[in-house]
């Protein structure tokens, strides 16, 4: 499918230093050793999809990257700044990293528009009229300008997730993290969210996506990372990974997921 896409898709900038560099990251929760030493580089304009069985630490890795739960050991660099170094202002780091959650987490007391503006006004200090204008533009980008005055409870799951994407985009993040953005959605609603994400990829956003949507991974990802048991087992080009994975475990997992996806779509 990748051949059918327009020719001017922004390509990852592999010559510059990575936008996100992760080295030897470990994380435990109590006695559970979730991440056992992760190394990963993500380059500017790259779309990286993390796959793997549940409970292997994909979401934990995302939360380490934006320091919502900082790693126990190892280092993470964002644009060549070591964000895991002591004394780093973590709030400032998070302003540069957008995050989209599985269960949306829209602010329930605010309208769709206010969900997008609040970060701009309270965190970035943008004046209200300007923030509203920019927020409307972000909502338009996800196709929801006509829902600006709706509260989250008045939106469908897919619409909520698109507002959540607009909220993250409004902060002009340098990298976007997606934590299973379609897992809480009915199958017929996942399409609209994936489409928005695909557009972002085409616009050249750097994205790290945890997802079980293999078709999306195949069509949009520049790199697939297969994680299991707290390690990165294998990473590579999507076509290569799907047709010709190096490890048996990766092949087995991808085949299983692909079969499941097909039966789901046939229904």
């Amino acid at each position: 499918m990748a051949e059918a896409l327009p020719a001017d898709i922004p390509l990852p900038d592999l010559s510059a230093p990575p936008l996100v560099r992760i080295e030897g990251v470990q994380k435990s929760f109590g006695a559970t050793h979730v991440l056992k030493g992760i190394n990963l580089s993500v380059y500017r304009r790259q779309v990286v999809v993390l796959v793997g069985p549940s409970g292997t630490g994909k979401s934990t890795l995302l939360r380490c990257i934006n320091l919502l739960s900082p790693p126990d050991s190892g280092c993470i660099w964002l644009e060549e700044q070591e964000i895991t170094a002591p004394g780093v202002n973590q709030d400032k780091v998070r302003q540069r990293i957008g995050m989209v959650f599985q269960d949306f987490n829209l602010f329930t007391h605010l309208t769709a528009l206010e969900n997008v503006t609040i970060g701009m006004t309270k965190v970035l200090g943008i004046k209200k009229p300007e923030a509203r204008e920019k927020s409307m533009w972000e909502l338009e980008r996800v196709g929801l300008a006509d829902r600006a005055s709706h509260y989250p409870a008045q939106l469908s799951g897919g619409q909520k997730q698109r507002v959540a994407i607009a909220r993250a985009l409004g902060m002009d993040p340098h990298v976007m993290l997606f934590d299973e953005p379609t897992s809480a959605l009915d199958p017929e609603l996942t399409g609209e969210v994936l489409e928005v994400m695909q557009n972002l990829a085409f616009e050249g956003d750097t994205m790290i996506v945890v997802s079980h949507e293999m078709q999306f991974a195949r069509e949009v990802a520049d790199k697939i990372v297969f994680m299991e048991g707290g390690y990165v087992v294998e990473e590579g080009d999507p076509d290569e990974m799907f047709t010709n994975a190096r490890t048996d475990r990766t092949r087995e997992f991808l085949n299983k997921i692909a079969d499941f996806g097909e039966t789901k779509n046939k229904k």
């Binding site: 957008g98 987490n105 993250a168 902060m171």
Partner: protein, 216 residues
Amino acid sequence: MPFLEKFYTTILFLLEGLGVTVSVTVIALAVGFVLGVLMAVLRVYGSRPLAALAAAYSVIVRAVPVVVTIFILYFVIASIINLTPFLAGALALGFASGAYQSEIFRGALQSVAPGQMTAARAIGMSRVQAIRHIILPQAVRLALPGWGNEATLVLKDSTLVFAVGVPEMLRRAQYVSSRTLEPFLAFGTAALLYLVLTMLTTFVLSRVEQRYRLLT
């Protein structure tokens, strides 16, 4: 004097205390609100010593009869710093209400979904910003039904400042009773006025509740 005329003069006399009753109630609720929100935030989000301090405030103040709190403030504290009986009474009621309100707001804070804090932090808000702009506005809305109940309780507790001689409605009803020797008329009228005030408060607050209801 016919009954209606007596009732009329009684009600007029009591109504002169209405301003005191209402202002004691409003001051107490406002002081209690500030204390309650502050203590609730400390208990849920504060460091361990601060949370313990807030919990101790709530336990101790709720264990002491409100009249005792009023007496302590008026006879002990007011002898050190200059406080009128009115202010001592209103502040003591606020101090007491703060303990109850802290319980109301603590429950509300704890029922805000944890994802709200995560999402707020993810867009770069500090913990304090997240509490102020995201968590508290939701918690206050969730607390409204319980808070409305507390408002009516404080309204009725405002009669207790009568114990330090503040001329609120009940105090004035007692004047009437001892002067006319008709306690039923005096206290019945007072009861009626409190009923009307409580109903009014409940009505206004239920409107506010509807207006700011969190859609889920």
